[in-house]
């Protein structure tokens, strides 16, 4: 078997494999089908040629030669068909032209089998194999072939000039390089004209078909410079590895046999083994060197980004951190646009925090239900717009279309999700690079590192801000506690003043009463009447002041910790007495929905009063919030306290028709320092925490919580019944 037979057979197998691979990847797509046809035609060509080279008789050589033309006839037509399909321009005139070229090829196929005008029955004998002799019409075919062939890079080049997308440009460049690199294969026509030129087209065809397959199957393509460099280095290194031992064996055979006699082949074989071992290292070394030079700019900003990622976690001010990330990314990578969206727990949306752009209006926020968010949550991978666009064109999947649409709205070239564990904290939106280059896989890797470091830093900054807020709340709570203890001393002072006032007023009223004013003039009597009235008012006010101080004292009282049998009515009465200084009881209805002879609770009065104080206080705040926010007509706040004995405990339900709590906040309600109350009347965030401790720790009871936003809240409290 001739060496070229073997190589051609090997190439034919490779094409068939490549074509099948692409077809299997997506059988429905036209482009994949056309590519398979293209591979099939080249396979037939090479298979036929392979058999022809090694044929022992002229008849066989001619038969297989003609067989190879069965494929060759259609290569140019299917190649052109492939390009126009890929460029999405297979319609109208161009489509007609494609059909025409197929018919033209078919004509030559008929000529091939039924005449000698295209290919004769004669055969050329070259040292490397046999070749069928062409007929008189062969040149027409060659011209048609070359013409169609040149149309392909022409179409590609035109499309390349029309597109602005760096991604599309890169893809077209890869295809163009493929078509340029295959042109030496046209030289395989030379032997048809009697020129002894070895048919090495298979080598170029392999590169060409491989690059086509790559561009069809893969959405994220290598930077063209990298691709070409890698292929070039690969070819050079492996030509050397395989070629050098052959060359040694070929040219130095005589000398080798003379020196080493029968085992002359040991040297070339050893050389081959040695080269094959060092080959990969040389390849990797050269590749790295070449790419360092080629991608010097990228490497530079990738390094900066990595450095920045590390330093980021030290920044505590969230806004500054986000500004910095946006700045670093846009300045070092030179990107036209950058925006950072962060999850806002309160609204459940992803809100734009920072935006660096030139005169475009960014999308201010995305809902959690947005397809883009869903996608990022499911597949924590960067998204590239051009890729998604191609995918959405290729598939009928609605998700891809929605994704494409949303990315278009964001004017995003790339979206990089930022995860903390499995929580999507936010994402970075990047526009095109100013240089017009594509985002490479390496870029995306670096961005991903940046995004995950950013997630940590953001979490850090958010935590720091929360801690700061919490500290403020603790300070506030401490202040409240101080006021509580001060109330003790204060109340004594106030009571002393009030006592003196009541005595002064009371005694003077008494004196007036005991004094005979009958001899006074009517004016004086009237004046005395006024004074008396004024003093009575002073007395009444003093008594009211005394009540206020008493309420304050009850609230600040450090109660005993013992448990006693308590009536729910008493607890509620005492609580309402305390709470009236804070809550306008006239504005709401307080409904008691329990029997007057309900069993007594085993509990601590002071603590239960405090717990109920908090329940009613919270309910009232929720009612006020609903009234202010929803502004419903005929809305009136209502707090219902109901109770029913169950087994050995009393189940008390405190229910209000206030604002309710958002679903996301329900879990956090009992956490200390968590407050949903608006800033105008900010709570300490301690109320429900205190309640929980009182009910579960002191009373060994239970408290749970149900709430519907904009409907109301229910607290269910279980307290032991006194035996």
């Amino acid at each position: 078997m001739k060496i070229f037979s073997f190589l051609q057979l090997f190439a034919a197998t490779f094409y068939l494999f490549l074509g099948s691979l692409v077809l299997i990847k997506n059988k429905k797509l036209m482009i994949n089908k056309v590519f398979f046809v293209l591979c099939l035609t080249t396979t037939i060509w090479h298979f036929g040629a392979s058999m022809s080279y090694s044929a022992t008789t002229n008849a066989m050589a001619n038969f297989w030669g003609k067989f190879s033309y069965l494929g060759i006839c259609f290569i140019a037509a299917s190649g052109y068909h492939f390009i126009v399909t890929l460029l999405n321009i297979n319609k109208g005139k161009i489509k007609k032209f494609v059909i025409f070229s197929y018919i033209f090829s078919l004509c030559f196929l008929i000529l091939l089998f039924f005449s000698k005008y295209f290919v004769t029955d004669d055969v050329f004998h070259y040292p490397w194999g046999n070749y069928p002799k062409p007929g008189p019409l062969f040149s027409i075919f060659t011209l048609e072939f070359v013409f169609l062939w040149l149309m392909c890079p022409f179409r590609l080049f035109k499309a390349y000039r029309n597109t602005t997308s760096p991604f599309e440009k890169n893809r077209l460049k890869i295809l163009l390089v493929g078509f340029v690199s295959v042109s030496p294969a046209l030289m395989d026509f030379l032997p048809e004209y009697g020129i002894n030129y070895p048919p090495i087209g298979f080598f170029f065809c392999s590169i060409w078909l491989f690059s086509m397959a790559y561009a069809v199957v893969k959405y994220r393509l290598m930077d063209i410079r990298v691709a070409v460099t890698r292929t070039g280095i690969f070819v050079v290194v492996y030509s050397l590895v395989l070629g050098l031992p052959f060359a040694v064996a070929f040219w130095l055979k005589g000398w080798l046999i003379e020196t080493f006699r029968a085992s002359w082949w040991v040297l070339p074989l050893g050389l081959m083994a040695a080269l094959a071992t060092v080959g990969p290292f040389i390849y990797i070394y050269l590749q790295r060197k070449a790419e360092d030079r080629l991608l010097a700019d990228q490497r530079r900003y990738q390094d900066i980004l990595k450095q920045a990622s590390i330093g980021m976690t030290r920044i505590r001010d969230l806004q500054r951190l986000l500004d910095l990330i946006a700045h670093i990314v846009t300045k070092t990578v030179r990107i036209s646009y950058a925006g950072i969206y962060l999850f806002d727990a309160e609204s459940g949306e992803y809100v734009l925090q920072v935006s660096r752009d030139k005169g475009r209006l960014p999308v201010p926020k995305l809902a959690s239900s947005n397809p883009l968010i869903n996608w990022l949550t499911l597949k924590p991978q960067p998204l590239i717009y051009d890729e998604i666009k191609l995918k959405s064109q290729d598939s009928s999947d609605l998700v891809d279309k929605q994704l494409e649409e949303n990315m278009r709205l964001l004017t995003a070239a790339v979206v990089i999700p930022s995860f903390l564990e499995d929580r999507l904290l936010g994402f970075i939106v990047l526009g095109e690079k100013i240089s017009g280059q594509i985002y490479t896989q390496e870029d995306l890797n670096v961005f991903q590192v940046l995004a995950s470091q950013a997630a940590l830093a953001i979490e850090n900054a958010q935590f720091y801000e929360e801690a700061k807020k919490m500290q403020e709340q603790i300070a506030q709570a401490e202040k409240m506690a101080t006021i509580g203890t001060m109330a003790d001393g204060l109340s004594h002072q106030i009571n002393n003043r009030l006592y003196a006032l009541s005595l002064i007023a009371g005694d003077t009223i008494d004196t007036i009463k005991l004094t005979d004013t009958s001899k006074c003039t009517p004016e004086v009597r009237e004046m005395i009447g006024h004074i008396n009235h004024a003093l009575e008012r002073i007395q009444a006010n003093v008594m009211q002041g005394g009540e206020v101080v008493r309420g304050l004292l009850k609230y600040s009282r450090e109660g005993e910790t013992g448990l006693e049998a308590l009536d729910l009515h008493t607890i509620l009465n005492n609580t309402l007495e305390m709470v009236q200084y804070k809550v306008k009881l006239s504005e709401i209805d307080i409904v008691r929905d329990f029997s007057p002879n309900i069993p007594k609770i085993k509990g601590n009065l002071t603590q239960l009063e405090e717990a109920f104080f908090n329940f009613i206080d919270n309910a009232y705040d929720a009612i006020v919030e609903r009234r202010n926010l929803l502004k419903e007509e005929a809305y009136r706040g209502r707090i219902t306290v109901s109770a029913l004995p169950k087994d050995n405990h009393l189940e008390i339900v405190v229910e209000d028709n206030g604002m309710g709590v958002k679903e996301g906040d329900i879990k956090k309600v009992f956490t200390p320092f968590f407050t949903t109350k608006t800033s105008s009347q900010k709570g300490t965030g301690l109320g429900l925490y205190v309640i929980k401790r009182i009910i579960t720790e002191t009373h060994k009871g239970q408290v749970s919580f149900e709430s519907d936003y904009k409907v109301g809240t229910r607290f269910i409290i279980e307290l032991p019944i006194a035996q």
């Binding site: 004594h492 009571n495 002393n496 006592y499 005595l503 003077t508 009223i509 005991l514 005394g546």
Partner: protein, 120 residues
């Protein structure tokens, strides 16, 4: 005439309370603190003492204790500006024996009822 001793460190309280009860045919003496009250008690022998708890110097409870050291039967009404039964003073006063325990502020009519009731 029944004798009443009002012990309070507030000048206004002494003046107006005294005035009020004098009009009700009560011989009122006032003291501005515990020590002064104890001094007066020896000679005065009042039927009733109206004793404020929180005072400068020796406070009401200490004064009561010293009174009880000599006289187990003297009627004493304690007046407090504090919240009810705080620091167990109510308890101590009850053990030492007091006629009543009243909270500031209170209406004069109420004070009259308590005091005049005790003096009868």
């Amino acid at each position: 005439m029944p004798k009443l001793l009002i012990v309070d460190d507030e000048l206004d309280v002494r003046e107006f309370a005294a005035n009020f009860f004098r009009k009700r045919k009560v011989e009122v003496t006032t003291a501005s603190g515990g020590e002064e009250a104890l001094d007066i008690l020896e000679k005065l022998k009042p039927q009733l003492v109206l004793l404020d708890i929180k005072m400068q110097g020796i406070n009401g409870i200490e004064t009561l204790r010293r009174i009880r050291a000599n006289d187990k039967d003297l009627k004493v009404i304690m007046v407090t500006g504090k919240k009810p039964d705080e620091d167990g003073s109510l308890n101590i006063c009850q053990q030492l024996g007091v006629l009543d325990y009243i909270h500031k502020p209170l209406e004069l009519a109420e004070l009259e009822r308590v005091v005049m009731g005790a003096l009868k």
